[in-house]
């Protein structure tokens, strides 16, 4: 099998050209005199590629002016990855420690060579991948992901299925699956599982817990595979359970009408009740404030002309009426609505 024409964007890094070529010359000298003869594959390659400022001295034409193609490989990350025992040339077949032309077969795209290498050592994973919608889409128009879209290349981590950290689950969903399935990620992120993951609850499900990763990606509510997917963590799951929707838009525009009806009803209730309550409290508060100002300084409560007006009106209206029992400020008869409660 052959993974043709990898269409992934090349990682780019802005590095000063002058500095880069100076560094390169220095390293070239170093490599010539020290590295080549003695060093083994990994260390040897890293003499040049382990320098953060190391860029391609003969960059491809399509690079923008002022930009450089970084050829840096983070040695720490590589040696911390699951492939720490591999040689660079296990993946980069045909690269030798011969300077300056260390690539033997220049006609073949080195990326493709490296990607095809995965297949050689990970037969099983590759076979599974072959059956997936993703592989199909990759061979069709390269829209589907390949090994390195999900795993990366130089910092591949060990897989501990079932013991993934919440961080990893979240970043896999956001930075891998979510890059291509933006809508599905956005929708799922409003559901319990991802909210819990984002707060560090590693038992909650991420995309690959439900969908799998190499094969069997598609899930449909009500299907036995979906029931199985849920049963990994919800042992009591039945067919009805899978009608729970992981991927609904935030405003539920695409949801069953029952969901939408409840959503509109309860949102409206929320707003109406709270607004009424807060409005009531506010007018109560203004009354009390005015009363209080009246108590502590006669004139202060009358700052507002219209309130003063209302007051006078009501005093006129009630002239001659006996005071209610709530009236305890009987110093002035017109104050019977303004006194202590």
């Amino acid at each position: 099998m052959n993974l043709t024409g990898v269409g992934l964007p090349r990682p780019r890094r802005r590095v000063s050209r002058v500095a880069a070529s100076a560094a390169f010359s220095a390293i070239l000298m170093l490599g010539l005199f020290v590295g080549v003869a003695s060093a083994q594959d990994v260390e040897g390659c890293l003499i040049c590629h382990g320098d953060p400022n190391f860029t391609d001295p003969t960059p491809p034409e399509n690079l923008e002016e002022g930009e450089d193609l970084s050829l840096y490989v983070d040695a720490e990350k590589f040696l911390g990855s699951v492939h720490d025992e591999l040689k660079c040339s296990d993946c980069h077949k045909g690269f030798l420690l011969t300077i300056p032309n260390h690539q033997i077969d220049v006609d073949k795209d080195f990326r493709q060579v490296a990607i095809e290498a995965c297949e050689g050592c990970h037969q099983e994973a590759f076979q599974q991948y072959q059956t997936s919608e993703h592989a199909q889409r990759f061979y069709e128009d390269q829209a589907g992901p390949i090994c390195i879209s999900c795993h990366g290349s130089h910092a591949i981590r060990r897989v501990n299925l079932g013991e993934e950290s919440a961080d990893f689950k979240m970043s896999m969903a956001r930075d891998s699956c979510g890059q291509c399935h933006e809508d599905k990620f956005e929708q799922a992120s409003h559901e319990f599982h991802f909210k819990a993951l984002s707060l560090g609850y590693e038992r909650a499900a991420t995309c690959f817990d439900c969908h799998g990763f190499h094969d069997n990606l598609a899930l449909t509510s009500g299907e036995p595979e979906t029931v199985e997917a849920c049963r990994q963590c919800h042992p009591g799951a039945n067919k009805g359970f899978t009608y729970f929707q992981m991927h609904l838009q935030e405003g539920f525009q695409d949801a069953w009408w029952g969901v939408r009806a409840v959503y509109y009803l309860f949102s409206t209730l929320l707003v109406v009740v709270l607004v009424t309550g807060i409005a009531y409290t506010t007018v109560h508060f203004q009354k009390e404030t005015r009363t209080m100002l009246g108590v502590f300084g006669r004139g202060a409560g009358r700052l507002f002309g219209f309130i003063r007006h209302l007051e006078e009106e009501s005093v006129k209206e009630r002239e001659g009426r006996p005071n209610g029992p709530e009236d305890h400020s009987n110093d002035k008869p017109e104050n019977d609505h303004r006194g202590m409660l």
Binding site: A196, L270, V273, V283, I307, P325
Partner: protein, 256 residues
Amino acid sequence: MAEATYPAVGEERPEGAAVAETNVEGRDYYVRFSPYHRLSHFVMMTTFIGCALTGPPLKYSYDFWAQAMMGFWGGVQNAGLIHRVMAGFMVADFVVHVLYLGYHIGVKKAKIFGPDSIFFWKKDLSDALGMVKWFFDRGPRPRFERFTFWEKFDYWAVFWGIAMIGTSGFALWFPTVTSTLVSGIFLNVARIIHGDEAILAIGWILFVHLYNSHLRMNVFPMDPVIFTGRMPVEHVKHDKAAWYDRLVREGKIKPE
């Protein structure tokens, strides 16, 4: 009226009849809430706060304060546990209260509508209108009976809240049990209800209940009656004039 005797503290008295007390400073108090009422409110309050502090961080999990709050609880798992324990006690409190209501209405034949009842009645409507008029200096403050309309509203809001938040909460707590009864899509529905109603309840408590019951001018900064059960008679007179008149008429308290 003036001949009535006033039962003293600890004196034998008919069930439900409250009593007047005089404290050391000579201030007269009226016992408004029985120990059960106070306990029931205390449990409702603490469990509500417990749920209100552990739930929203999950709903707003992507906000920085939510992360910090979850950190305080020690993660989703702990917060979830606290949330469930609190919810359990809250529902238990509620169930006990429903039994209490049933006992009083069914066995003791308490009147459902009347001045001593927490059920809404006609007067609440005119009280509410009167209150609004009073806010704008258009009339006197209504003469309230034992329970004002906002107290009744807060009380019944708990019934609504428990029905909505409690039911949806149990549905989400045991999702696979729920799905044996109804389709899984109702779990989505339950989540909407649970979240919306919780925000409503929290907003109501913060902006309406706290103000009307504690921050009002004549009880500021808080009204301890719900914890002590005792209300100064002079306070009864100011706040609930109709009730005060009735208590005096019935000889339960000395007129001020």
